[in-house]
């Protein structure tokens, strides 16, 4: 099933998932069969060898109907990207095919009570140096945390940042569901406690010292790209709703779209959506070229995407009026989800600092490397 058919097949159900606060379990095999999970992995690892632009278009299509579905693709892709880049041959062979097939659902367990934007402040420990290591700590806001079968957990081993895979069925893994969040309500958010969980040392990803700067950074970079495209899809869906409503709704003998105020809002929403889409396409191109600027330009794309999603969804609710506030109207859900997009995978404010830093040094004279 291609992504357009898949999206059409679930369109009537997604509001119910949002209300119920979860995705149906059958959705994972359906999405795996469609080739939407870890689709950019090489074929030898069960992926579809999809280009970054094509991966982005899948995320835009999913984001245009349900951000929780896009979130599933995002997290699966983040952990797959980290393992593809920094896993050993044995780890890649063992884990990647299961992520592409949906045999494993990944969770990304990084945030802590005292460590959000500053992951370096994390206090989770990974102790031991023999055949096993012991993981102890509590991770917050894990997307798909209730569904995940394996978590990529970040902690400290002898003070150094380290990444380790922890299967959810190991003794000591405690899943604490988060009920009724503002948005992404179907993404099965959970806090995860790791109470002296013993895992094989073979589950450590990359040597101690590189857990955040390389493993987490590679994962989050991949996540920003798919979130950015999902935001573009969300914004485009909101614009479409606003156009359809204002083109049809007549009040006082005048079509809403014939008011200049309304038409200007549509114009601004079009530019925001289209601009974000072009920045996403630019980032995708740089990623395919393995350009050194790709990581920074992905931050730019995610920043613009989240901004477009937030502003266009807000406009759409306003233009639809009471209808947009109704319980089952998609713009209601998009509006709530869009706010989350300005916080996850790097908050808006941290993004601005990173982009400003990139501007400072790329405009400087030292561009030889």
């Amino acid at each position: 099933m291609d992504v357009a058919s898949f999206v059409d097949s679930v369109r009537a159900d997604v509001a119910g998932w949002d209300r119920a606060g979860g995705l149906p379990s059958a959705i994972v095999p359906t999405m795996a069969t469609g080739g939407f999970l870890a689709a950019d992995l090489p074929r030898r690892y069960g992926g579809a060898d999809l280009g970054q632009r094509d991966l982005g278009e899948i995320c835009a299509s999913l984001g245009g109907v349900c951000s929780a579905l896009r979130s599933l693709v995002t997290v699966q892709g983040m952990v797959a990207a980290a393992l593809l880049r920094w896993g050993t041959g044995a780890q890649r062979a063992a884990w990647l095919p299961t992520l592409a097939s949906g045999g494993n659902i990944a969770g990304f367990a990084a945030t802590e009570e005292g460590a959000g934007s500053d992951l370096g402040a994390m206090s989770t420990t990974v102790q031991g140096h023999g055949d096993d290591v012991v993981v102890r700590g509590r991770k917050l806001w894990v997307s798909l945390g209730r569904l995940a079968t394996v978590f990529l957990v970040f902690g400290r081993q002898d003070g150094l940042p380290v990444a380790v895979l922890v299967e959810s069925d190991r003794p000591g893994v405690v899943v604490e569901p988060i009920a009724d969040p503002l948005g992404l309500r179907a993404a099965q958010l959970a806090n995860i406690r790791f109470e002296d969980v013993r895992v094989p040392a073979a589950n450590l990803v990359a040597p101690a010292g590189f857990g955040l700067s390389h493993v987490a950074a590679t994962a989050v970079d991949h996540g920003r790209h798919t979130v950015a495209w999902g935001c573009v899809g969300l914004a485009a869906a909101c614009l479409e709703q606003a156009v359809q409503h204002t083109a049809r709704r007549v009040q006082g003998g005048v079509r809403l779209a014939d008011h200049q105020l309304v038409r200007a809002v549509l114009g601004r929403a079009y530019v925001a959506t289209s601009g974000a889409r072009q920045l996403c396409a630019h980032a995708a191109r740089l990623r395919e070229q393995r350009s050194p600027s790709a990581t920074a330009e992905t931050v730019v794309a995610k920043y613009a995407g989240a901004a477009a999603a937030a502003s266009v969804s807000q406009d759409a609710v306003q233009l639809l009026g009471a209808a947009g506030c109704g319980p089952d109207n998609p713009v209601n859900r998009f509006f709530r989800d869009a706010k989350i997009m300005q916080i996850i995978e790097g908050s808006r404010e941290v993004g601005e600092l990173d982009i400003g830093e990139f501007a400072l040094r790329t405009a400087g004279p030292d561009r030889t490397l």
Binding site: G87, F210, L212, H214, D221, P292, T295, D366, T368
Partner: protein
């Protein structure tokens, strides 16, 4: 320019230039531990790996992830030279 023609000193100089730009114009010494001093963020760390790979035609693998390979500009340059020497075609007779 053929990346294999970049001389050893150029490698150190180019890495220093990138690190200095990435750390807000700090004048870094060849043996300065920019990681311990917290001078690069994770976006720059990923960018540094890609830049080194692209600029010098090598591939950084998980087995290369040793802090001793990366903690100073001089060590990165040594690492690049070792990787390039290992990857260079053997042109000797016999």
């Amino acid at each position: 320019m053929d990346i294999r023609q970049v001389s050893g000193d150029d490698i150190t100089r180019q890495i220093l230039e990138f690190l200095s730009a990435a750390t807000g114009g700090t004048a870094l010494a060849e043996d300065q531990d920019y990681i311990a001093e917290g001078l690069v963020n994770s976006i720059q760390a990923v960018e540094l790996v890609t830049r080194v790979e692209q600029r010098f035609g090598i591939e950084v693998e998980v087995s290369d992830l040793d802090l001793d390979n990366f903690r100073t500009a001089g060590r990165i340059a040594d690492f690049v030279r070792r990787k390039r020497a290992a990857a260079a075609p053997d042109t000797r007779d016999g």
